[in-house]
C-alpha cells in the first residue's frame, strides 16, 4: 500500500475551514461603566527578574490599580530578587545563597536584560532611551504602583530558598504566601498573568 492511497486528514485545515468570519476586535470599545460590566481583578505572577519583563509587569500593575482594578503581584523566584532593597549587596545565609546574590545583584535598579545585556550596555541604553522618551523607570512605576495600592505578595518558598529575611525586602510588601494562595486567587473574577 502506498502513502497516496491513505485519505489525508489535516486537523488544522479543517479547523480553519470551520471558522466563520473574522473576529471583530480591532475597533472594540470598552463597555460603558454602568455597573453591569466590571473589569476583573488583576493577578500578576512575577517570576522573571529580567529588566524588560519586570518593566512590563509594573506597567500593567500600576495601570490596573490606576483603573480601579484590584491588583496583586505575586513575586517568586527571580521576580523576588527585584523586591530586595537596592542597598543590599549580598543576601542569604549560606555560601550558595550569598554567591547567587553576588552573581546577580538584587534590587529593582540592578536588573539585566535577558537579551543583549552586553555587560550592562543594553540596560544602560534602555535607561537612556526611556528617559529620552519619557518612559517611567521600573523604580518609578513601582513607587506609583505602591501608592495606588497594588499588593505585592512575596513567595515564602523563594524567601527560604534564597535565605531572604523580611528586612531584606523593600517597605510595604505583603505577608509572604505560597502557591495555594495564588491558585486560590484565580477565580472567575480575576485575570492571571505569568510574567
Amino acid at each position: 500500500m502506498t502513502a497516496a492511497t491513505i485519505p489525508t486528514f489535516d486537523p488544522i485545515t479543517e479547523a480553519i475551514a470551520a471558522v466563520k468570519g473574522v473576529p471583530q476586535t480591532a475597533e472594540a470599545e470598552l463597555p460603558e461603566a454602568d455597573g453591569a460590566v466590571k473589569t476583573r481583578d488583576l493577578l500578576i505572577i512575577d517570576y522573571s527578574g529580567d529588566l524588560e519583563k519586570v518593566w512590563a509587569a509594573l506597567i500593567l500593575a500600576s495601570t490596573g490599580a490606576a483603573m480601579g482594578v484590584r491588583t496583586r503581584v505575586f513575586v517568586t523566584f527571580w521576580g523576588l530578587q527585584v523586591f530586595v532593597k537596592d542597598s543590599k549587596r549580598i543576601t542569604g545565609q549560606n555560601w550558595m545563597q550569598k554567591m547567587l546574590s553576588a552573581m546577580q545583584r538584587p534590587g529593582i535598579s540592578h536588573r539585566k536584560l535577558s537579551k543583549m545585556n552586553f555587560l550592562g550596555m543594553g540596560p544602560w541604553m534602555m535607561g537612556r532611551l526611556a528617559k529620552q522618551y519619557g518612559v517611567a523607570s521600573p523604580k518609578e512605576l513601582l513607587e506609583a504602583a505602591q501608592a495606588l495600592g497594588v499588593e505585592f505578595i512575596p513567595c515564602q518558598m523563594t524567601m527560604d530558598m534564597f535565605g531572604l529575611k523580611p528586612e531584606d525586602m523593600i517597605e510595604g510588601m505583603g505577608e509572604p504566601a505560597g502557591a495555594a494562595t495564588v491558585i486560590g486567587l484565580m477565580t472567575d473574577n480575576s485575570t492571571p498573568l505569568f510574567i
Binding site: 463597555p31 461603566a33 500600576s62 495601570t63 490606576a66 483603573m67 482594578v69 519619557g134 495606588l148
Partner: protein, 78 residues
Amino acid sequence: MPTLAITHTVDARGLSCPMPIVKTAQACRVVPAGSVVELLATDPGSTKDVGAWCRATGNELVEQTIDGGVHRFVIRRK
C-alpha cells in the same frame, strides 16, 4: 459653553504610557468628588487611553482637545 473651574491640573507632557493615566488616577484620589481635573499630555496613545480609563473608572470625560501636539482632557471626577 461656560468654562469649567479646573480644580487641579495634571501636567503629563513629555511622559509616556502609562504615566498620564497613573498621574491622573493619583490626582483623582486627592480631589473631592465632582471636581474638575485637567490633564495635559503629549503621549499620542493618551487619546484612546484616557477615554478607556474614564469608562472603566466611571469618571466623565467632559472635553478633549489638541493644540500643537498637546492633548488636553477635562475630566469630572465621579
